[in-house]
Symmetry: C2
Subunit: 338 residues, 2 copies
DNA sequence: GGTACATAGGTAAGCGCTTTCCTAGCAGCC
DNA sequence: GGCTGCTAGGAAAGCGCTTACCTATGTACC
């Protein structure tokens, strides 16, 4: 690998001059020297060693992102927003998949710190686990005291900058709409209870139903994996356990698709006999039949805002932005059958 | 940020000893010193500066990946395989979205080189553009001469290690199956003609149809954007231009979904009047109604193999692996109506 | 007790770069 | 012509780390 010294030697100048030419320092350099340096750079295919640069002038050009899994549509969209803003700032992005494993999250934060990234964005749900939360907060604080920036999306763990989707509002939206259409025997297809995303959404739904005079009994909630198979399983259990069920609320669209699959397999008409609603408005929601009624979260925007906070000037006090949820009504929701 | 020197000072040892303790060097260190160092590390929340380490001992811990767009399901799956293997090797992954912009690809290769990444994996389609291809090959070669490793997935540009999906076979599979079911008036919903992925798939399809005695005229191919909207547009044009059309081949599943949407809007029964087949077997293929007949490519595996090549021992001669395509028959394909 | 050897730990060089500080050369002025 | 005041370019320090090399101490043996 060609080094600055090689370039300087070939151009017959000092490394200092070569460096000045290469990164367009304000110090003026004679045209003939400049040209010689540039030619040497081209000849040697010289690319400055980013690590050496970083060591010499601590100016960080990479940001780290920890998500559940980039190939999950929710995080894929989120990541798109994150990437866009990072690119606009000329930053590369290291993406780490935690697969919702808290230990792995912790490990990644550590590795990103070692990489001297300019900022860390932690995306995804928080956990109801005080020990983990404390350890994470501690690690993030340590990173921040060394000049790193942290922003979180969709989780509360961090006392600093955060961007949140209005999960609770979304749950409420769903509950209100279901009641309006006459649904009162409602089952909930929920993801893992340790995720704050789940409990937030559930809280909103519960509140809306209770306010409407139809509180949600615990046995009408089934917790399962936060994916298609989990959705099918929970939907099956609810169907068996709750006679006269008229609607199924899935706490994300993947689970809703799983529920839809199960209902079709059991020959239950949607929305004729049972309505199904989801959450997140992933692309698939519009593609299934019947198309899914769901709560849209501005995922790309969420990611973009988070990265903007992380790369923008440090605020004197934490900024917490909540981005609104909106109801998207499609075919899978109908009136309650009498 | 605490440095090694800080740790050493606090532990009352030399930086050399501290370093030896911290990265478990083979050189033995007395237990009491070791313990003091470890305590100092904990007290100061010391994390070694990865850049300084890299400079001192050129051992690269990050790999770079250039894809079209992580949030595209095709690349999301691919990335999952890439990530898995990279993680198994203890490597972090920098992911760059090129959005199919050749200039941006070139730029990213440069940036990744500056980052001293251990390997670069270039994923996605190649371009029919000799100038670009030459520039890219040149840049990659420069990177390789400095000890970097390169692997490409789904593209031919690089004279080194490559993993390819059997695009042409896939096209052929589709063509054969369509003929078998009596389809002869077939329209092709194609993506941009500059992409080698498109021409490869098309070549296979064309060959199968020609061998079956029903060569594909150029006017039955419509090139459009490689996404849902492009699919809808191309499908619409074909429907208008080709009377008696009985089947639509979309060159990826997104386009197929777009075509399906258009057909539904025009009240064309699928597969009653027109059959639709896709390519890639993205998750959405199974979710739409009718479920999509498509060609499955082992995307995760493709990514995993590519990363394995990139991180494995350098071969004396380039390895090119082709991973097979398989036909997945679902509801959207029926017999040709007479 | 003196020499030889092993060994724990320290010293310092060097990875590739940036940047401060310095020097040499030059123009401008009295 | 001698001085001051600039400016372009170079020398060298230092970023945080690893490691080859060296020193000092302790052990073993004659």
């Amino acid at each position: 690998m060609a080094t600055l010294a090689d370039v300087a030697r070939r151009a017959g100048v000092s490394p200092a001059t070569a460096s000045r030419v290469i990164n367009g320092s304000s110090k003026p350099v004679a045209d003939n020297l400049r040209e010689r340096v540039l030619r040497a750079v081209a000849d040697l295919r010289y690319v400055p060693n980013a690590h050496a640069q970083l060591l010499a002038r601590p100016q960080r050009s990479v940001v780290g992102v920890v998500v559940h899994d980039v190939s999950d549509p929710y995080f894929a969209e989120l990541t798109r927003g994150l990437q866009r803003v990072a690119t606009d700032h000329g930053r590369l992005v290291i993406i780490c998949n935690s697969y919702r494993d808290p230990e792995r999250e912790l490990e990644y934060v550590e590795m990103l710190r070692a990489q001297q990234v300019a900022a860390i964005v932690l995306a995804g749900s928080g956990y109801h686990d005080a020990t983990f939360t404390a350890r994470l907060a501690e690690k993030l604080a340590a990173y921040e005291t060394t000049g790193g920036r942290v922003a979180v999306v969709g989780r509360h763990e961090h006392p600093g900058d955060a961007v949140m989707p209005a999960n609770t509002d979304g749950g409420r939206l769903l509950g209100t709409e279901l009641l309006r259409r006459g649904h009162t025997r409602i089952g909930v297809v929920a993801g893992p209870q340790v995720l704050t995303t789940i409990t937030d959404r559930l809280d909103g739904l519960r509140a809306a139903l209770a306010e409407g005079g139809h509180p949600l009994p615990a046995e009408r909630i089934r917790y399962a994996d936060f994916d298609r198979d989990g959705g099918a399983r929970a939907a099956g259990e609810l169907l068996d356990a709750v006679p006269g069920l008229t609607a199924l609320v899935a706490l994300n669209d993947s689970m809703a698709v799983g529920a839809l699959t199960l209902l079709r397999a059991r020959n239950v008409a949607v929305p004729g006999q049972v309505s199904v609603v989801g959450f997140d408005d992933m692309p698939v929601a519009a593609d299934v039949t019947p198309a899914l009624t769901t709560v849209r979260l501005p995922l790309v925007e969420l990611g973009a805002r988070a990265m903007t906070l992380a790369l923008g000037p440090a605020a004197d006090r934490p900024r917490v932005e909540v981005l609104p949820a909106t109801l998207v009504v499609r075919d899978s929701l109908g009136p309650a059958p009498d």
